[in-house]
């Protein structure tokens, strides 16, 4: 009895609720210890029933990434090697997203959904609506003219684990593809584009450096896409594939918040208008496994003759 009292008073607990539980644990464990009889609880839970929850939402917070502009799990602009959803290797997860990008001359909406299978395979779909606002009128297409693009994505995680493999430099790696189909074939051909559909292929590596609270990602993409494919695929300057680098760096401020920046190099296939690299600076907030919010400042360079398209990027993701 004296022992218990000393223990109970010596320990200072900050949360009162926890204090009760802890005190109960300590007392129960000590009370149980000297008893020569076996533990009173018979083994109903002794047989570890491997009852796997197919929707376990068992990944660590934020380790499903967010939905990038083309629908894959990643940062905002570029795919990462992480698989969408909060499923572990034993389960299935999914996400839906809506992303809004608003620059000086244009607005882009991306809406989509993705499924993660056993933290191994990712399937995604995104619909991008690119609103030319007043530029459409200047180009003779009419104010508010939109290019609409469907993106079907698949990603396969190849090797490594971004989180657990903290004792090696080995990153988590994945390969993926994005099949894109644009509905404005006539306009695309008129501006020098070669096709209204195309496929991007990418390899990506993601590594969490826990000691520094930093996450790094590098992606190489083989692509013919002009401005994501919104202005078609291939062009009069270059009609073939080019390999483009995409990089992200994030610093974890807390379990729920990360800040960082991204870079995405792009081809420059069309002679009618130059295309530049994309940049962003972001903050992502993961209040729970079921929702995330990303806010970014983007610099999308020149788009279809409109200079310095800078603006805001907002994205919400919901899933499990």
């Amino acid at each position: 009895m004296g022992l218990r009292t000393v223990t109970a008073t010596a320990i200072r607990w900050r949360a009162a609720g926890l204090a009760v539980i802890v005190a109960a644990i300590t007392t129960a464990a000590q009370a149980q210890a000297p008893a020569p009889t076996p533990p009173p609880t018979p083994p109903p839970a002794a047989a570890p029933a491997p009852s796997v929850d197919l929707f376990d939402s068992g990944k660590l917070l934020a380790t499903s990434g967010v939905s990038q502009i083309e629908g894959a799990a990643g940062g905002g602009l570029t795919p990462w090697a992480l698989i969408t959803g909060y499923e572990t290797r034993d389960a299935i997860g999914a996400n839906a997203h809506y992303t809004f990008v608003h620059t000086g001359s244009y607005t882009l909406h991306s809406t989509g959904a993705s499924i993660g299978l056993f933290d191994r395979v990712e399937l995604s779909y995104a619909r991008e609506i690119f609103d030319t606002r007043k530029v459409g009128g200047k180009l003779g297409l009419g104010n508010g003219f939109t290019f609409n693009e469907d993106v079907f994505g698949a990603k396969l995680r190849v090797a490594g684990d971004a989180v657990y493999d903290q004792d090696t430099l080995m990153p988590q790696t994945a390969v993926g593809l994005q099949y894109k189909r644009n509905d404005q074939s006539a306009v695309i051909h008129a501006i020098g584009g070669k096709s209204a559909e195309g496929v991007d292929f990418y390899g990506t590596a993601t590594k969490l450096f826990l000691e520094q609270s930093v996450l790094l990602n590098a992606t190489v993409r083989a692509t013919r896409a002009n401005q994501l494919g919104i202005l078609g695929f291939g062009g009069d300057r270059n009609s073939g594939y080019s390999a483009e680098f995409e990089g992200s760096a994030a610093y974890l401020l807390s379990r729920k918040t990360a800040i960082g920046f991204e870079y995405r190099a792009k081809p420059n296939n069309l002679s009618f208008a130059a295309e530049n690299r994309w940049l962003d600076v972001f903050i992502a907030y993961f209040p729970t496994r079921n929702v995330s919010l990303t806010l970014a400042a983007v610099d999308l360079g020149d788009i279809a003759g409109q200079r310095r398209q800078r603006g805001v990027y907002l994205s919400v993701q919901a899933g499990f």
Binding site: I11, I21, V22, I25, Q32, P38, A45, D56, G58, S213
Partner: protein
């Protein structure tokens, strides 16, 4: 076997009491160790005690602690963390594979415990970058602990 663990538990309880009664007996180590940044043995004991309290009340993983003497477990974890972070302790328990294989833990069990550990360290005021330095050391244990 059970008798031994019970004896150990008793001893451990005594150790905890002794430690708490005389916190100054914790050997001072270089300021640069993670052990020191975690608040030494007293600091580690605080958040380990708390994570166990959170975990046994966490419906996602409470079952994993059935029939486990929590005082004994706390003492083992504290000593292990102490040694791994550069403290003056020696962990003498079983390896992570041997001690967990009977539990058939899945990835989600591991992650939910990590999450509870993060919450416990938050409550105890361990700065987030310091938490991550500890998690960096613990993360590779995943491969031994998760066997399902």
């Amino acid at each position: 076997m059970e008798a031994i663990s019970r004896m150990r538990a008793r001893l451990c309880a005594l150790c905890v009491v002794a430690l708490l009664a005389t916190p100054s007996c914790t050997a001072p180590v270089g300021e640069t160790t993670l052990y020191a940044d975690l608040g030494g043995e007293a600091g580690i004991t605080r958040f380990v005690t708390e994570v166990l309290a959170i975990s046994v009340a966490d419906p996602r993983i409470a079952k994993d602690f059935d029939n486990i003497n929590l005082v004994w477990l706390r003492d083992h974890i504290v000593r292990q963390f102490c040694e791994l972070t550069g403290g003056p302790c020696r962990y003498t328990g079983r390896g992570m594979y041997a001690s967990h294989k009977g539990l058939h833990l899945a990835t989600s069990n591991f992650n939910f415990f990590v999450e509870d550990l993060q919450i416990a360290m938050d409550h105890e005021g361990v700065p987030f970058p310091t938490q991550n330095r500890l998690l960096k050391i613990l993360a590779p244990m995943y491969h031994d602990i998760v066997t399902r």
